[in-house]
Amino acid sequence: MLEIVLQNLDLVIFLALMVIGYTAGSIAEKRHYASIEQRERELLRLMLVNASGSYPDGRVKSAFLVSGSAVISVDYFKRFLAMLRNLFGGRVRAYESLLDRSRREAILRMKEEARAKGAVMIMNMRLETSTIGTSDTSKNGIGCVETLAYGTAVVLNPQ
């Protein structure tokens, strides 16, 4: 038995990494989504728009930049799925939830900052995404995606 394991050590390590990647990745994702959904409900009333708006004179007490960013890493299992996808093409479903999580997490962090500073609204919200850990020259880096959300938080004068 031990002999078989030692002879196919590569395969054993691969399978172990796949199992670890899948279980750890699934648990992390499930928890993260639960947290995201709960916080999104809490912050629902904080207005968030892409548009640049304007208020009548004297209405705005202060306006400032708020930002939030989140970095989410890919797990071994998802990376393997994406690698197979490279062969056949199509939606890289394994990565889509990672991007979704990092976008929503970044927005939530931005909103949390705005709320802490007493803002009721964020205008002109923008999202930027970048990969870290990988580049064209090094293919074996750690694949992470960073999403940055930023916008103008507005604190209103009491009416």
């Binding site: 899948y22 699934s26 999104e40 409900r41 629902l44 009333r45 207005m47 728009v49 299992f77 998802k78 393997f80 799925l81 197979l84 996808r85 062969l87 056949f88 939606r91 479903r93 394994a94 889509e96 939830s97 991007l99 979704d100 609204m121």
Partner: protein, 271 residues
Amino acid sequence: MKFTPRELPANVNVPKTHPLAELAWLIGGLAALGVGLFLVLGLVTDLIVAKLPPAAEAWLGRQMIGQLAATENQALELRLNALLQALPADAPLRRQQFTVYLLDTNEINAVALPGGHILVFSGLLAQARSENELAMVLAHELGHYQHRDHVRQFGRGLAVSLAAMLIFGQESQVSETAVKLFMTIDSRYSRQQETAADLWGLELLTARFGHAGGATDFYRRMAQTAGSRIPYVVASHPHPDARIAELEQSIAQHAYPLGAVLPLGSDLPRK
């Protein structure tokens, strides 16, 4: 403008497919590709076996013999030539160039390589007791050439190696590596191929010596050490007993006479 906070009912950005289901689909696709490639290579190999030009066969033979520490052996070559002389004048094998090599290993085997290179393992030579049984072994290998098994034995490895040769050229390192990796010498023939080579060899042996004496001697000695027949159900080679039976049946069928065997010549290198 009025702002109405609203929760999103569903998220189109997150796929509903279970990741394990996707994994199964992708791996299934990969497996299907592999099976497809395997089948195509099989078809290509069949085509190659029938149409392989002598120049390509010679190249393969050179590549393979170059990897082995085998030495050309004049004494064995003399015996092979005597067998070839016994063939009819218009036999295709007489137009081919054969070289017999001796490979220093205890294994009891002989191999027919592409390009007319016949490998005799010194373990086999140490076992042989008579000129006739040695001739039977050589005639058996010639039988493989006659049936083009020497090309077919490599199966799909052949298609891969030749593709490498065509793409990268004869002198390329890549082609050499392909031959090393995919053309492994284990001389696995099917039972039908072995039996066909045996029967063809028997005919040649009889033509050479005028009788079929010693044809089964070698297998008889193998049978003593071979043991149970059970592992041979899955083995590529038939059990020696089965080969002896086939040979004896053929001897009886053709009414080949059985004469006395010649002792081995002293010119053979034996350990």
